[in-house]
């Protein structure tokens, strides 16, 4: 499988320090400086676009608050993802073992995929009430489909020679699954995990817009209502930070687990 995002360069600090570290961070830094200067010289009011220094100030002023709210969103994103992924992987394995299950599951999951899950968040809030359950449920639903499709693809498309050899010497379907398919599917599973990081964060934040009473989504909503752009941006910044950390961690875990793909 092709990697969707190449995040390996974050991990490999030893060689080519300048192109890999200085250039990306340099670009980032320049953008921030330009932003700061523009806000300063154009006298943009803080309730429209706050300057980077304002935002950082705001973040550290209430650092405990932001950490708590970030943790809630992070928890929802991860827990929801784990639930969605668990069900998806389980179903993908069943589908490869028993074709009939695929005929039942795929139409439903395609229906789920084409429905923007976010759109039913208000409904769910009415049925299940406020709190952490609805965001969890939404994240699980949103991450379910990419994981199902990619994992199924990975489980199904395994090396021809390996599978023929295994079948010829009498390996059962379950043995082929256990010894061959599961680990062959890891690469495409991780690809879908990387696709799911932003999805999980979107799901968590938007679901928290609907009266969850906590989390970064709620912070963004409240600060928006108060025209408090600085807090809003600080929350967004926290989200970017969470997303980056998640992406790097996943790449790190992937490289540790799929050790044989170095070539």
């Amino acid at each position: 499988m092709k990697k969707i995002l190449n995040t390996k360069f974050f991990l490999d600090i030893s060689d080519e320090f300048i192109p890999k570290i200085i250039i990306p961070f340099g670009v980032f830094f320049v953008i921030l400086v330009v932003w700061e200067l523009l806000v300063y010289f154009l006298r943009v009011p803080v309730y429209i676009v706050p300057s980077p220094l304002n935002i950082v100030d705001r973040l550290f002023e209430d650092i405990v608050f932001f950490i708590v709210q970030s943790s809630i969103t992070l928890f929802v994103a991860i827990a929801g993802f784990v639930i969605g992924a668990f069900v998806a992987v389980f179903l993908a394995i069943l589908i490869v073992l028993y074709k009939t299950i695929g005929r039942i599951v795929f139409p439903i999951s395609i229906f789920l995929k084409v429905t923007p899950i976010i759109a039913i968040a208000p409904l769910l809030t009415i049925w299940f009430g406020f709190g952490v359950f609805v965001p969890l449920f939404i994240v699980a639903l949103m991450t379910f489909f990419p994981i199902l499709v990619n994992t199924h693809f990975g489980l199904y498309n395994v090396n021809h020679s390996s599978i023929r050899f295994f079948q010829s010497i009498g390996a059962s379907k379950l043995e082929v699954m256990k010894y061959l398919r599961v680990r062959s599917a890891l690469a495409s599973f991780f690809t879908s995990v990387r696709i799911c990081i932003p999805l999980a964060l979107i799901g968590a934040v938007v679901a928290q817009f609907f009266g969850s009473g906590s989390g970064l989504g709620w912070v963004i909503l409240v600060s928006y209502n108060n025209l408090d752009m600085t807090t809003c941006f600080a929350a967004v910044l926290s989200l970017s930070f969470i997303g980056t950390v998640l992406t790097i961690s996943i790449s790190f875990i992937e490289n540790k687990i799929i050790f044989w793909s170095y070539q």
Binding site: S162, R164, F165, I169
Partner: protein
């Protein structure tokens, strides 16, 4: 070592095999009425030009492709049945080793999967694996992962993992395609030794005429489209099973057969 005694009962019967592929809407006939018997405990080489249908034939015999008509019996049962009864070892031309297991574990896994009863003894299995790796000169590579090995060595490991099973019918598709000339010669010798200690029914597809004559009891020459058996040679000249040294035989009989096969292949392809 002396020539082994052979019971020539057919272990594999291919009857009235017909098969076509649909290639871009055109039906291309690969086989028309092919009949072959593979004798028990004998090594049969199949030799023929590219694209004549050797791989297809092996896939049909192992039950991975269902032929249009005709049937295959392996020790009295169908191919599918033979697979479930753990009677076949099918080695494709690319090695298909598991990339997350080292050489030793790859070979060991075969024994696990081919086990016919619940009883097993890990020590016994492990010494079996070591023995076959030793016979094929692979012991030094046993802790290497496939991605750390060259293609040729991976191919030898994939042979090892089929040869470690001592009672299956071996179906080998160009198992030595990636090996250098000297390794090939050495491996032929190793294989002959393994087979003389433990006779097995082997079907071997190869492009190397010398190899086919040296390794096998029968050589089947396939040619034309649809494929037909141009000729089937029985190889049993004196000194063929001389395992004392690694040599390319230069006897008169060897050269006769060699030239015969070469002429046939030239003739049918010109």
């Amino acid at each position: 070592m002396k020539t082994k005694m052979k019971k020539y009962d057919n272990d594999i019967e291919v009857c009235n095999l017909t098969h076509s592929y649909n290639i871009n809407g055109k039906l291309v006939e690969i086989f028309r009425e092919i009949n072959i018997g593979f004798k028990k405990d004998s090594i049969t080489s199949i030799i023929g030009p590219n694209g004549v249908g050797k791989t297809t034939l092996l896939n049909i015999i192992a039950g991975f492709i269902v032929p249009d008509t005709g049937n295959v019996r392996i020790r009295g049962v169908s191919s599918k049945e033979a697979c479930t009864q753990k009677k076949i070892g099918f080695v494709s031309h690319d090695h298909g080793l598991l990339p997350w297991m080292n050489v030793f574990d790859n070979v060991l896994l075969t024994l696990t999967l081919n086990r016919k009863s619940n009883y097993h003894n890990l020590d016994e299995d492990e010494s079996k694996v070591l023995q076959i790796l030793d016979q094929l000169g692979l012991v030094d590579w046993r802790y290497y992962f496939p991605y750390q090995l060259s293609k040729g060595i991976c191919q030898r490991v994939s042979l090892a993992r089929a040869l470690v099973l001592d009672d299956v019918i071996l179906i080998l598709d160009e198992p030595m395609a990636n090996l250098d000339e000297l390794t090939r010669e050495k491996l032929r010798y190793d294989l002959l030794k393994i087979f003389s200690l433990n006779p097995r029914t082997v079907i071997l597809v190869t492009h190397n005429i010398t190899e086919s004559i040296q390794l096998s009891d029968f050589v089947i020459v396939l040619s034309n489209q649809p494929a037909e058996i141009v000729k089937s040679f029985e190889i049993n000249f004196a000194g063929k099973n001389n395992l004392d040294k690694v040599i390319v035989p230069t006897s008169v009989e060897f050269n006769n057969i060699n030239n015969n096969i070469r002429d046939l292949l030239h003739e049918k392809n010109s």
